[in-house]
Subunit: 162 residues, 2 copies
């Protein structure tokens, strides 16, 4: 991890107290073919390899109905990332970009988001295509793609008709 | 909050230890026109009202370059949500769906995600359209929309040519 922790030319870190505003509960583990950061694709592709979202047993019942969706949003925790950079130099060439102008895993809250294609669900494991993260990445959430999802609840006063 | 905490017919909660796997740092606050859950739109719309992402000063420099993007991904913390439901009944009619088959704010890690249109950036405040959350919602992250973003770093071995 030492190479990941070193600052590149013109990168800017800030001093921060330990984070303490809210706490996450990992809900499972992501299995992918990639065991080293340098092997991960830069972005996932829907024709990429099958990956597994392995849910902890307590959450198995929460998958009911997910099979109705073709595209899912997956949230995960990029647990190997430093969190204190405000400016980053992706090419190590001295040119920097603000952290929020990048999709780098290095960010104050290293939450990865991906839109993936659902391949199948079997005994608490969701098989998908389109991820780009390391094998063993902690899983935070699964939701239907917002574009495909029709709210199941009654309309509310602030809801526009479409 | 009591009404939010009550279980509806056939909803299923699980017993959980307090979450302790990772910790979040709020990076700012979201300002929206909605002060009560019942007034929030069900989903944000790109022609909805302007909302403000008010960044804490330590992160102002991290916005550099964000103005180049038209569409942004925003992550926020739904701090009023219970986190222990595996089956939910959005219509309170006894019919339930698994939590992961819904985009409900009630989920093990209540992280909201939205794709929003950038209106402008001024002195650490990002003005956007397309949010649906309560005024005062804690902000977790801002990223360029994955569809519009071209990675700034050199290609890697796992990257497909497009």
């Amino acid at each position: 991890m030492s190479s990941v922790q070193e600052l590149r030319v013109n990168e800017q870190a800030v001093e921060l107290a330990p984070p303490s505003d809210a706490t996450l509960r990992f809900i499972g583990t992501i299995r992918t073919p990639w065991h080293d950061r340098k092997d991960c694709p830069r972005q996932g592709h829907h024709d990429g390899p099958e990956c597994q979202l392995v849910l902890d047993p307590v959450w198995h019942d929460a998958l009911e109905g997910l099979e109705d969706y073709d595209t899912l949003e997956v949230l995960y925790w990029l647990d190997q990332s430093r969190r204190d950079l405000v400016r980053q130099s992706p090419k190590s060439d001295g040119r920097t970009f603000g952290t929020f102008a990048l999709r780098s895993p290095v960010r104050p809250n290293p939450i990865g988001t991906a839109m993936v294609k659902l391949v199948g669900i079997n005994n608490g494991t969701v098989v998908v295509r389109g991820l780009d993260c390391l094998d063993g990445t902690p899983l935070l959430d699964i939701k239907p793609d917002r574009c495909a999802f029709s709210p199941k609840a009654p309309p509310k006063s602030g809801t526009q008709t479409e």
